[in-house]
């Protein structure tokens, strides 16, 4: 092995802390060496974040590996949050779907227990938006992380200025176990330089989810430096702007493989370092209204009956913030009122983290949304959809991530409002 290890790291690799930890370290070293890492660096964030939240019966090898870790004393050195639960009895499902969920996720209770032993930060720390204030897993700028979950990684890197590679599930836990990660890629100054200049030249504020999709499809795993957004987003990271970047980033990461983006004058590194972040010979991608329209029209419709009436609508992948829930409550109320309705035309689920939901449940807007027929949940819509029964359902969503991984059909936020109000028919 060519990576230069410290005495403590070498001792772990040599088995001084047990055979299991030695295998964990060996995995990380080989992983780092594949990318030319010459050293490991300590994780500096308070918490980790894991992508594997689901007790899917077919993922038995993962749970057996977790057992090996627990039995070998290879527990996480830092507490962690984890992606959302795959189940919620409040989300509409029929009798057969319920049976399927029970079979599919028969390992859920056992896996939840494993997560507790391994070091989950709170019993309700199940969300893809762990960086929300209510959840409390918010890294500092410059922190080194061992996280997975593509939308959380791209947010932490871009909006918070933390440093994290696009780690795979299991590898992120391994980093937290030994407290170190190999130093390469997005952890380095060089790896954070933009190799694409994205010029946004639209005549109105671009839909976050479509803009992110366009960028992701074009730059794939590279780093874009986005210019032309200040007229739409200003130069301050307000909650509204952070929510916009959350949704845009999730689309860049799922429609491509973006782990970091810079927005000129806005995201922390771009605000500090400006165009010096752009690498020499960076490629250029111009996005105008026509380009966004082209990208949106390119999405395949995966429904068997392309004109079917939607049976379910999911909003909140990644999970909605408190401010977004408030905003949807207000807009939906107005939209229904204009349409002369009191309830939504399509069964609808808004998803948010358990911690945000707990707080939001106390508000008047939560009652309003429920009265309008909206189910509030902390489920992972992706996990709900990932089976043949739900996959055959005509589901609509304003999430480009959900569209990418499932058969759900994408609509903009305004189109969703219109559909929920029965003003627009497919």
């Amino acid at each position: 092995m060519s990576m230069k290890l410290t005495g403590a790291e070498q001792a772990i690799l040599d088995g001084d802390l047990g055979e299991v930890k030695a295998k964990v370290m060996k995995t990380l070293v080989l992983y780092g060496e594949t990318f030319g890492a010459e050293k490991m660096v300590p994780i500096t964030s308070q918490y980790g974040h894991l992508v594997t939240s689901f007790g899917l019966s077919v993922m038995k090898p993962v749970y057996e590996l977790m057992d090996q870790l627990i039995e070998g004393g290879a527990l996480s050195g830092q507490l962690f949050s984890v992606d959302p639960w795959p189940l919620d009895k409040n989300v509409p499902s029929n009798f057969i779907q319920n049976i399927l969920f029970k079979v599919m996720y028969s390992n859920q209770t056992d896996y939840d227990k494993q997560l507790k032993k391994l070091g989950i930060m709170k019993d309700n720390a199940y969300t893809c938006t762990c960086y929300m204030e209510e959840v409390g897993n918010i890294p500092e700028m410059g922190d080194i992380l061992s996280w997975a979950e593509s939308s959380a990684v791209v947010y932490a890197n871009s909006v918070l200025g933390a440093r994290c590679n696009r780690n795979s599930g299991i590898l992120e836990l391994f980093g937290s176990i030994v407290g170190r990660v190999p130093y390469f890629g997005l952890l380095t100054d060089e790896g954070r330089k933009a190799t694409w200049k994205v010029l946004v030249k639209t005549t109105k504020k671009p839909e976050a989810q479509v803009l992110g999709s366009a960028i992701g499809m074009k730059v794939m795993e590279e780093v874009p430096y986005i210019q032309g957004m200040n007229q739409w987003l200003g130069d301050e990271l307000t909650q509204e702007v952070k929510d916009y970047l959350k949704d845009m980033g999730a689309a860049t990461a799922s429609n491509g493989a973006v782990g970091l983006y810079h927005v000129e004058g806005l995201t922390p590194e771009a605000a500090q370092m400006g165009e010096s972040l752009i690498a020499e010979n960076a490629q250029v991608y111009v996005i105008d209204d026509a380009e966004l329209e082209r990208v949106k029209k390119s999405y395949p419709v995966m429904w068997k009956n392309k004109k079917a009436s939607p049976k379910l609508c999911f909003v909140g992948c990644p999970h909605l913030s408190y401010a977004q829930l408030d905003d949807w409550a207000l807009k939906l109320e107005e939209s229904l009122e204009k349409a002369g309705r009191t309830t939504v035309d399509i069964p609808t689920v808004f998803t948010t983290s358990p911690a945000v939901l707990e707080k939001f449940e106390q508000s008047e807007n939560a009652t309003k949304l429920k009265d309008m027929g909206v189910v509030l949940s902390s489920i992972c819509p992706l996990m709900y959809m990932n089976n043949p029964l739900c996959g055959k359902m005509p589901v609509i969503t304003s999430s480009n991530k959900l569209r990418t991984y499932t058969t759900a059909k994408y609509y903009t936020n305004d189109e969703i409002l219109s559909l929920l109000s029965g003003k627009e028919r497919l």
């Binding site: 992508v51 077919v58 090898p61 590996l65 696009r166 795979s168 990418t404």
Partner: protein, 146 residues
């Protein structure tokens, strides 16, 4: 026969029939259904990838540029290997991505299965290789296509 030389990520030797995806290989979307329903041939379930959709992946020499999609990707590859439904080898035209690397290394260290993994074979590799070709992988990263 055409010969290519790449970088060894996980060493090993094998001979298998090629399965070629010229588009990014979405690991989760491709393996999701077969893992869920115990399909030992591991037929690809990624509807967005018509080149390999519904084709068996288990035991094939999977030729691809890189993997894309969810950060569960590496874990999914590890699961496929632990359940003995993994490709015979992974052959990347480009430098391997972090998710696929994690999967290949996890499979090599934490399972008894052999899944040689070679990257940086060059764009010409994906231009030359066709689904159904016979692939031979050697310990030093040599890949023979015939």
């Amino acid at each position: 026969m055409t010969i290519f030389k790449g970088r060894v990520v996980v060493a090993g030797t094998t001979s298998a029939e090629a399965l070629v995806s010229t588009a990014g290989f979405n690991t989760l979307a491709s393996y999701q259904k077969s893992l869920m329903f115990g399909d030992k041939k591991a037929k690809c379930s990624d509807q967005n990838n018509p080149e390999i959709f519904e084709k068996a992946m288990a035991g094939k020499a999977l030729c691809l540029p890189q993997t894309i999609g969810s950060t569960t990707g590496g874990m999914v590859l590890y699961c496929a290997a632990a359940l003995e439904r993994q490709p015979a080898c992974l052959l990347f035209s480009k430098p391997i991505d972090s998710l696929a690397a994690a999967g290949a290394i996890l499979a090599s260290i934490w399972t008894d299965e052999n899944m040689p993994t070679i990257d940086s074979l060059g764009d010409e590799f994906l231009e030359a290789v066709k689904t159904g070709d016979t692939i031979t992988v050697e310990e030093d990263g040599t890949v023979k296509v015939e």
